[in-house]
Symmetry: C3
């Protein structure tokens, strides 16, 4: 069968991913990278299910979203990190009265090739990990071409 | 007027949708498909507001997200289903102390043409349906061309 | 360096944005526009960080998402408004037992050029604004070409 639109397919091979966890996670006494073992869609392996890192295959604008479910007995802090920079976060307090908490966040991010994006579970917090409720998704929205100026403000 | 970019417009005609409900829903004593009657954007009728089914018009990578609001007196389970397979879910416990619960989830999904995606409300759970708070959105991110191999892992 | 794909880059210049707040917000005794001062990504300045308005640079299908964190002592109502029309909303009750609330929503919207989209905090409600937890993102998914008919239902 003929392959049409080859360029956009190669881009796809490298950049679309979606992932979710499959076990209870935390609390730990230190910040911990969330690693999603069960991948719904990870064309091209941009997401590494051994390290939990999404590595940008090309420079571009990416959209990331994450959602968690967590028991209420511990607080929750889930941070989306770009390299070593905190980008967005979702957190909740512990409570003895509310059995569970849900949260999430999303962001558009301009990434350079090889930038790394991952989720970090805060020290002494927990999420309920299984392969459907605590999830992490991301995709390349538009590729950027080197040498162009963008007005970032 | 001339139609430019005809291919991408035809794709749009068939695949972009967004929807939301407009009535209180559940609890029922069995799993129930959520049907969103009020559509903000449903170009090409990929979403059927009589059956609640989104039918993929073409093979591709799709992004889906949903959000709910629900009274705290009953638990909540909202599952995103592809054909008969559970993909992602959001749920919450009942509570006598917290008046209401919010939740949601999102996923990237590789669909074949005619795959069906819908939301299922779990037995004995409820969501607060009105035309702005409990919502379901989805769009085609990239079309896939038959005959190509993708590394899905 | 050569600029490839010039059309899609110009589109990018005008339409991709992501934003988040950086201070505690509300409660006020009237509805108030949320203004996000810290922008993660706002290529082309479609989002005005002085007015809080996203102005559509071209007619098209846009995807918007927002997330908030809020203390439980006050209710929360965050509405996504298109011009003067309520599109989607997230809200929560006040509670003396649950320390904090998280919520959000998302929608696909067909916009005409110069349509304005923004978030409105409801009277007597509050969100916890800082530059990572309460966020607003949006992007142009597909540009529409004038003179085409779409089946909106």
């Amino acid at each position: 069968m003929r392959i049409k639109y080859r360029n956009s397919i190669e881009e796809l091979n490298r950049a679309v991913f979606s992932s979710d966890g499959n076990k209870a996670i935390g609390p730990f006494n230190t910040d911990t990278t969330l690693i999603y073992k069960t991948l719904k869609t990870n064309v091209g392996s941009a997401y590494n299910k051994h390290t939990g890192m999404f590595t940008a295959p090309v420079a571009g604008i990416y959209y990331f979203s994450f959602f968690y479910h967590a028991g209420g007995a511990h607080p929750v802090t889930v941070s989306l990190i770009k390299n070593n920079e905190l980008i967005v976060m979702a957190h909740d307090h512990s409570t003895s009265h509310d059995g569970a908490d849900n949260g999430g966040n999303a962001v558009l991010l301009q990434l350079q090739q090889r930038d790394q994006v991952y989720l970090r579970l805060g020290a002494n917090t927990n999420v309920w990990g299984n392969n459907v409720v605590t999830t992490f998704s991301g995709f390349l929205l538009r590729q950027l071409i080197e040498g162009c100026n963008f007005n970032l403000n």
